[in-house]
């Protein structure tokens, strides 16, 4: 057994760190330092920088433009990006539909879509949830009627994050309303956002930033060649997509960065004539959270080591999203607590509080979404109860 990254991996980490420091444009670096929310254009500019380096899609195979990294390198890269505060690239193309197309897509789809995803020339969003199909995704209602050479889409998707910027959306749509089980009769379809009949309404998060949208489809035509996989096999596609990169969902770097921020706030905040960091109660509280994060990191390392050997994700990987998101929230809760009255600030009031604290309240608010999106933690627990613990269904 060996718990440490190899010398090669550590050298890689240094390379990544150095690269980020050198490549991140000054304006982005300033925002990164404050953990400010990046504009979409800024994210895409960083995407294109990484793409030039060949690092935009760490988990794509080499023949499609990936860097050919192992699981450990992918983890290190992801952690370093998170630690640096640099923009995190939109996952919908790179981490979701891209790998699915690589696995199940037609040659046409591969040629048409992959290069532009990789280069950051086309932006994607995800059309899964609907107003009445959230946790119960299989109840989705968006209809895709077969009209010979095309599908005709009618219905609504919600939580279509960054749809306002997207060139394409991938949707789960009902292609057979008469299937016995809800999960059957669903297809995975790629749709151009500029299609006639497609409208998008973005709305604000509680963090005060734009992320989610609602997207309506009214007689939207989609060519047949935009079906991924077989007709009515969309559920299988969706499950395959979920299986990608399950070792990166803990957000270790995000939490580590937030925790370091907490310590620095505690260092720079006075209370009772001493640094808050030197208040034994505060120090113990910060330490307790860091201990939890370190524990999760170890679980994550186990998962990576398994992936390195090509093993299927073990039980330890199923806890990463669950505890990872809880710890991310706890880190921002802690920052808020340490900020005291400064935690009342809002991001559109620069100068009110130190730069380091400026975006914390926004993140604190929006961070509540972490335990909701990508399968709420309640749904995660249902799955673990059934699949790992083998507990009986209700």
């Amino acid at each position: 057994m060996d718990i440490s990254f190899s010398a090669e991996h550590e050298a890689f980490r240094q390379e990544v760190r150095d690269y980020i420091t050198g490549a991140l444009p000054p304006e982005l670096a300033r925002k990164a330092e404050a953990d400010a929310e990046f504009e979409h254009a800024e994210v895409m500019s960083w995407h294109r920088i990484l793409a030039q380096k060949g690092w935009a899609a760490p988990h794509w195979p080499k023949q499609h433009g990936g860097p050919g990294w192992d699981a450990a390198r992918r983890f290190i890269f992801s952690e370093e990006i998170e630690l640096s505060g640099a923009p995190r690239l939109s996952p919908f193309g790179l981490a979701m539909v891209g790998p699915l197309i690589i696995q199940f897509g037609s040659d046409y789809q591969k040629q048409r879509f992959l290069p532009k995803i990789l280069a950051g020339e086309e932006v994607w969003c995800q059309g899964y949830s609907e107003p009445n199909a959230g946790s119960d995704l299989a109840s989705l209602q968006l209809r895709a009627e077969d009209r010979g050479d095309h599908f005709l889409l009618n219905g609504q998707k919600t939580w279509t994050t960054y749809a306002q910027y997207a060139d394409f959306i991938f949707v789960l749509a009902r292609t057979n309303g008469e299937a016995k089980k809800k999960q059957e009769g669903i297809s995975f379809i790629l749709c151009d956002m500029s299609s006639e009949g497609l409208t998008v309404k973005p709305f604000l998060t509680t963090g005060g930033t734009h992320a989610f949208c609602e997207t309506w489809f009214e007689n939207v035509k989609v060519p047949k060649e935009h079906l991924v996989g077989e007709l009515n096999q969309g559920w299988t596609m969706a499950k395959a997509l979920l299986g990608h990169e399950r070792t990166l969902v803990a957000g270790i770097g995000i939490s580590s960065r937030a925790l370091l921020r907490a310590k620095r706030i505690a260092r720079d905040t006075m209370s009772d004539g001493r640094r808050l960091l030197d208040d034994p109660v505060i120090r113990q509280e910060i330490a307790a959270l860091e201990l939890r994060l370190e524990s999760l990191k170890m679980a994550n390392f186990r998962a990576i080591a398994g992936a390195q050997l090509g093993h299927a994700p073990g039980p330890e990987s199923s806890i990463l999203k669950l505890r990872g998101t809880e710890i991310q929230q706890a880190c921002f809760d802690l920052c808020m607590k340490l900020m005291g009255m400064n935690s009342l600030t809002w991001f559109n009031e620069p100068g009110t509080v130190p730069d380091r604290e400026h975006w914390v309240p926004s993140a604190f608010n929006y961070m509540r979404a972490a335990t909701i999106y990508a399968g709420s933690n309640e749904i995660q627990k249902n799955i673990i109860a059934k699949l790992i613990l083998g507990l009986p269904s209700a």
Binding site: D136, G340, L344, T345, W346, N348, S376
Partner: protein, 383 residues
């Protein structure tokens, strides 16, 4: 022991409930958070006419001097729709003004506020002070005709809109000393006073103050020089009690909002409120709400206790419980709403934000737990 409301109190609660329903539903707060001031003078006047602003203060200054219970009941109901008018600021600035001020000061500064014609603010927080009213660096130097104030104050609730401000400054001693803290009355337009309006996370506004050699006459001093700390700490406990009652209103609202959502929202062919894990979470929200409501009553009653140690103990219990219970209730309320809970469009986020502010104002859980543990009562029978 009696927790029943009197007939008058019940009528008061009814009238506030009908006000929030008719005149200030949550949509009003939502609209006003983008407003420069964040609240409306007409509504303030209406509240004064309804007799809500003076309940704590003596008839001699235009109040009805009932008790803080009435104030608490009003604020609890106003909390259910996050009514933005600055009643808590009136209480915290008004209490030291009432306790330390002379008749002339009462007439000039307190009575107009109780009549709804002006509003007040208490400026006591500084950068390195955290929640401790003694940790102030602002100085008030004696001049021939009065005092010259220099320093800065932060996060002055309603400081952006107040006509008059009660400001703490040292006439002697250094940061951390109990003696030497004085309170002064400033006008909003006082030369040398610079106010910067800040939009808070909860949509309310407050002010950062710079006092650049503000010259005031001796008649602006409240009470004896250097002896204001007890009244100031009393004022902060009144403020804490107010946040506890407002928090009770917030929690009860989020609890019912969540309960209704669980009942109406369907997934997997059934209301999600039929899932046991969610039911039990809702029950925990209910339990925490009941605990916080219970300690809010403790705060309302004991804030007026004669013995400061009794008052501080009860206020710290209630304020620490508010933070714990309130934090839990709004977090779980958000979680149980799922995706819509983290959109700005849904109301639960407004309550989430306000609850964080309430937990922080006048001392967070860490501050109050420590204060509780430093009182003699903590080691009674242990020494």
């Amino acid at each position: 022991m009696d927790f029943e409301l009197s007939e008058d109190q019940r009528l008061l609660v009814d009238s506030v409930q009908s006000f929030v329903k008719k005149d200030s539903p949550i949509e009003r707060m939502r609209r006003l958070r983008d407003h420069e001031v964040g609240w409306e003078k007409s509504t303030w006047k209406q509240m004064a006419e309804l007799g809500w602003l003076g309940v704590l203060f003596p008839e001699s200054v235009g109040g009805s001097q009932l008790s803080f219970v009435e104030v608490g009941l009003i604020i609890e109901q106003l909390g259910t729709t996050l009514v933005p008018e600055p009643i808590t600021a009136l209480v915290t600035a008004g209490v030291p003004l009432w306790k330390l001020g002379n008749a002339e000061q009462h007439e000039r500064y307190l009575s107009p506020a109780l009549g709804g014609d002006t509003s007040l603010a208490l400026a006591y927080l500084e950068r390195d002070g955290r929640f401790d009213a003694r940790q102030i660096a602002t100085r008030a130097e004696k001049t021939a005709s009065g005092y010259r104030l220099s320093g800065s104050k932060r996060w002055v609730q309603n400081g952006h809109a107040a006509d008059h401000l009660v400001v703490s400054a040292r006439t002697s001693g250094g940061p951390g000393d109990s003696d030497g803290v004085s309170l002064f009355l400033l006008d909003a337009g006082q030369p040398g006073l610079r106010r910067t309006t800040v939009k808070q996370m909860d949509g309310k506004k407050s002010a950062m103050l710079e006092l650049e050699g503000v010259e005031v006459g001796a008649e602006r001093l409240l009470g004896e020089p250097g002896a204001a700390l007890p009244a100031l700490e009393l004022a902060l406990d009144y403020g804490a009690a107010a946040t506890c009652t407002e928090g009770a209103g917030v929690m009860q609202t989020v609890l019912m909002m969540t309960r209704n959502y669980l009942t109406e929202r369907r997934q997997f062919g059934v209301p999600i409120g039929s899932f046991q894990a969610l039911q039990h979470r809702a029950v925990d929200m209910f339990v925490e709400t009941e605990l916080a409501k219970s300690t809010a009553i403790l705060a309302m009653l004991d804030v007026e206790a004669e013995d400061a140690a009794v008052r501080q103990r009860s206020i710290s219990i209630a304020k620490a419980q508010l933070a714990e219970s309130g934090g839990f209730v709004v977090r779980q309320g958000t979680q149980l709403h799922g995706g819509i809970g983290v959109t700005d469009e849904h109301d639960v986020g407004l309550y989430f934000k306000r609850m964080h502010v309430l937990s922080t104002l006048f001392g967070d859980a860490h501050f109050h737990t420590r204060r509780f543990a430093s009182l003699p009562s903590f080691t009674r029978n242990v020494a």
